[in-house]
């Protein structure tokens, strides 16, 4: 997006200016994933278009009958999974992975067991496609609690996709919308 000098009072932004602004939000929509599975493999979601991404999970809960955690690992190519020494830490009242290190997965948030108790997770992922260390921050809540999580993948591998996994094979239900942060 071309950045114009500051407008002065006598100048009126043109229709083209407004259209340019409207077409270039800071968060740009990429895709929507309807989750209803133990593992959901999301391919071709990371690219050179963006460095950083926002994952918005809404109305998320588990149908497996116990409180559980949606987890994340990364993939490349045709769904090749990478378990690259994730470090993840969270603070979610009592329901947390405090100081979890060396896991195969990131902790995204946590889920209750009914749609009535469904929650939301807002997760920022930094540099999954770039050959840099991938990291994240996440905040989450539902009807019974909430908290924060963060962590890194301890390599500089470039990933093109990710996998959402329910802890201990639990079924995760909800809507995931993916956005990219406009670079400039």
């Amino acid at each position: 997006m071309t950045i114009k000098p500051n407008y002065i009072i006598s100048q009126i932004p043109s229709v083209a200016d407004f259209n340019t602004f409207a077409a270039n939000p800071a968060l740009q929509y990429i895709t929507t994933v309807n989750l209803n599975a133990v593992t959901t493999n999301i391919s071709s979601v990371f690219s050179s278009t963006y460095d950083n991404y926002r994952f918005e999970f809404s109305k998320i809960y588990s149908t497996s009958g116990f409180v559980t955690f949606p987890l994340m690992s990364f993939t490349s190519g045709a769904g090749t999974a990478h378990f690259d020494g994730v470090k993840s830490t969270s603070s979610a009242g009592a329901n947390s992975f405090n100081g979890q290190n060396g896991s195969a997965y990131w902790l995204c948030g946590y889920c209750n067991t009914t749609q009535l108790d469904a929650g939301q997770i807002s997760m920022d992922i930094y540099n999954p496609f770039n050959t840099k260390t991938t990291s994240y921050t996440s905040k989450f809540s539902n009807s019974t609690g909430g908290g924060f999580a963060g962590g890194i993948v301890n390599t500089t591998t470039s990933y093109t996709g990710c996998q959402i996994v329910g802890l201990f094979g639990s079924n995760i239900v909800g809507t995931l919308r993916v956005y990219g942060y406009r670079k400039a």
Partner: protein
């Protein structure tokens, strides 16, 4: 609703395919959780899904008889 479903979502096409996970896949998935430490995770059965709270007391110290 059936459990043990694996979903494949292609972000370029927006298409999703689902299938039932094989016993081998379930075993492999379970293996990735072996040794996982859940920190201070409270067993769901203990709290019925709700976060526990810390009980506090508000009894006066001393005071008039």
């Amino acid at each position: 609703m059936s459990d043990n479903i694996a979903a494949e979502f292609d972000a370029e096409t927006g298409e999703t395919t689902t299938r039932t996970m094989t016993e081998t896949e379930l075993a492999e998935l379970a293996a990735t959780f072996e040794g996982l430490t859940l920190g201070t995770l409270i067993e769901p059965a203990e709290t019925d899904g709700a976060l526990p709270f810390i009980e506090t007391t508000n009894e006066p110290e001393g005071g008039d008889e």
